[in-house]
Amino acid sequence: MDNIELLSDYADFLREKKKEGKRIVAFISHDNIPEELLDAAGFIPLRLIFAGNDDLMDASHDYLPPSTCAFAQSCIGLFSIKPDQYRFLDLIDFFIVSNHCVSDICASEIISRYFNVQRIDFYISYTQNENSLKYFRLEITNLIKQLEEIQGNSINREVLLHSIKKYNNFKKILKKINELQIKGSIKLKLLQKAMLFGPELMSELEENYANLNIVVNGSLENSKDILLTGCSIFFNDYLIDLIEESGGNVTFFDSWIGFNYYSQVIDDDLINSSEDPIDLLTIRFKNNIYGDHTVPNFLENRITLIKNYYNEHQAKIGKPIGVINHIIKFCDHMSIMSTHLKNRLQLEGIQVLNLERDYSRANRGQLATRIDAFLEMM
């Protein structure tokens, strides 16, 4: 299934949901948005996980300066240009303005303001401690109130618990898929598709997992293993192709689309014993220590995670693994730490490529050269 077909299917899926009377809530901020709550309240969560291009970025310059995160620029561009395959964006009823980063705030606010999508506010503390957990509860309570007002009825506790379980199981299957020894591009496509369609894709994912689990992919033996950290590879991005064309294979996606999402699993015993589903959402926020939003332990946690994966991978597969730190241009979170991340990992003998780029076509050749050189060095 190619990307155009998938987007067309997704558009049909959303139209069908609209016919059922569901309303669509979109958001840029991928981390910490309680999609279970949106689901329980009867909304369809729509993650903006679409990569950009020159036209999309240019279109955003009417609203924000070009020195804005290329992904945020592209999100605005999607609403400004509305390319044919993205016409489904017209179906969006609400937009969550959140503070994953300041570009998220600005882009979300612009989309809501200039493209007439009603906004819902949801903000997260920048630290993770006892008080920020309490603050998270306040925001969740506030969000519940907003959603209930929109829908005109209250969110049932049992329904919310059911949604939490559903998403929990969904993430578990994604985790299993990620552990498969298959080509990174196949894995990424499954992850991207899953994060668009959500748990409705559960049975298809299980089927995929069963089929892919029995495939022994001999061609991977000669490829060079890569851990991709930093910014996600979004839908329609050519980066994964460049890596594979150069002889690399991403075995682990340490990004929004990937580990950061499916690692946010809540313990089943906790779910079954919980009286208050808000507690569960708060626990999920508390356990989300690898997200890039919070300070001050982001760098340390990420280094620990990468080191652990590196050691486990070497022990299990017997091959070294290189790290590509993918930095979308003007990304505050990934860029500022990139030098420190690289220096610290290199001290541990882990090879790192800081790959900064935007979505312009002109970059492709340069990116390919840098990836080639890095893989050769490995």
Binding site: S67, C106, L138, T141, V295, F298, I336
Partner: protein, 452 residues
């Protein structure tokens, strides 16, 4: 001939503030090594809590650097210790009036040096930030601050870190630790919005930070000490506001408008940490207001009635300092009021709060909710509010390269200005001081023609 030198020497308080800023290194060394006090790094006007402990000194890190100080300013500093600043200032004025060329030129150089040396140091820190591995895509402020920590951060015992809506700022604060300096990181999370009992949580966050500061200090936290500081800090704010609202909006200035802009810029920089001594800063800023009022009463200064008032903002994260000279040459006068715009010049409400921590939490929450705001809608309202309050004739918006938070909202702002203020506005791109001055001149030339 400097635009400002003739005027600045008439204000001994300005010389004092400048001198205290530039000689920060010696002052801080004395405090640290002789008096065994500890330095706490702060940036943005977040220094107040440090004053709760008598042996802790807040410092905006650029002030730990050695500045190229004109030798005569050094002599003046020494002379002032004996004769007092007022006498020294009067003497300079006398020398200037005599018109002795060499000495007169020296006096000009002193003042020019003050402004230029600060800006040169900022640019030096900017370059150092990039050389140290920071991506050149970050804004001027972050790059300069990073450079300051690379070069001098090791002298601080702790960094007092407040989270705000700017993600580059928050991550920069985290990165200070990665630089490898031994200073302790003390974090204060400002809740993004004032909902539910968020204020209560914030009070607790501040209390915990005070507890951490207390571990560095040899003193226990004393609420009276903090309350006394807040009284001083409030007086500084009230005087600062009078300078912005009463003097800068008047039709007669105590000096030429370029000088006035220089003074506002100097106050803006010094307000970060009150030049490490709030009581001293309070005296100096109070004298400044008195000197200004005295000159206006005696009709010493300049009639500015016909000069359009141009608000340049935001400038605290980096701006081209030549802008106010250019606008003056084009017949306008420039006002700077960033701290008021972001509500940092509001009083810390100690009179109606028994606990100073609660008062400070309320003060910062107001800044976060209504000044900086959690989105650009609130932030642009702040720009509008200041422009309205100052009744400015035009607005120059500084669009800082790489800034994703404070200076990227011109589209929304322009729309609001057009709808609500109906005054001309222009956005100027800024990357580094001294770059593109000719382009700025051309653009401002066209902009200022609208007022003819």
């Amino acid at each position: 001939m400097s635009l400002v030198a003739d005027e600045l020497i008439r204000f001994s308080s300005v010389l004092r503030i400048a001198y205290n800023f530039l000689t920060g290194r010696d002052y801080l060394k004395k405090k640290k090594f002789r008096e065994k006090k500890k330095l706490i790094s702060v940036a943005l006007p977040f220094s107040d809590l440090v004053y709760a402990f008598p042996d802790l000194i807040p410092v905006f890190p650029i002030r730990m650097h050695e500045f190229k100080i004109h030798k005569y300013l050094t002599y003046l500093g020494s002379a002032s210790n004996i004769f007092g600043w007022n006498r020294v200032s009067n003497f300079l004025g006398f020398v200037k009036d005599l018109g002795i060329k060499d000495i007169s030129q020296t006096v000009d150089n002193i003042i020019e040096d003050v402004i230029e040396t600060i800006n040169e140091k900022y640019n030096e820190m900017f370059d150092l930030g990039i050389e140290s591995g920071l991506s050149s895509d970050f804004c001027y402020g972050i790059k300069s601050l990073y450079g300051m920590h690379v070069s001098k951060g090791k002298n601080c015992d702790a960094n007092l870190n407040y989270t705000i809506r700017c993600s580059a700022w928050n991550k920069y604060l985290e990165s200070i630790d990665a630089i490898g300096n031994p200073s302790k990181q003390i974090w204060i999370d400002i809740p993004p919005r004032n909902i539910g009992n968020a204020l209560e949580l914030f009070v607790d966050n501040i209390s915990k930070a005070l507890n951490e500061l207390g571990k560095i200090s040899n003193y226990d936290y004393n609420s009276n000490e903090l309350r006394n500081h807040f009284r001083t800090a409030n007086h500084i704010r009230q005087v600062y506001k009078k300078i912005i609202y009463e003097i800068s909006t008047a039709n007669f200035y105590p000096c030429n408008p370029a000088t006035f802009s220089e003074i506002l810029a100097l106050l803006n920089i010094s307000f970060h940490d009150y030049n490490s001594n709030a009581n001293r800063f309070e005296k100096n800023i109070s004298s400044l207001l008195m000197e200004m009022n005295g000159r206006i009463r005696n009709k010493i200064g300049m009639d500015v009635l016909k000069m359009p008032k141009i608000l340049i903002t935001p400038m605290f994260g980096g701006w081209e300092p030549k802008t106010h000279d250019i606008i003056y040459e084009l017949g306008g006068r420039v006002l700077y009021g960033d701290w008021d715009l972001l509500l940092f010049l509001e009083d810390i409400p100690i009179s109606n709060r028994t606990d100073p921590i609660e008062a400070y939490a309320q003060y910062l929450m107001n800044i976060n909710s209504n000044g900086i705001g959690c989105d650009n809608n609130i932030l642009t309202d702040s720009y509008l509010r200041l422009a309205k309050n100052l009744k400015v004739d035009g607005l120059v918006f500084v669009q800082v390269f790489g800034c994703h938070s404070i200076s990227n909202c011109y589209t929304i702002l322009k729309e609001k200005i057009r709808r609500e203020l109906e005054i001309p506005s222009i956005a100027l791109n800024f990357n580094k001081m001294g770059e593109n001055i000719e382009q700025i001149k051309t653009r401002l030339g066209a902009f200022m023609e609208m007022f003819n």
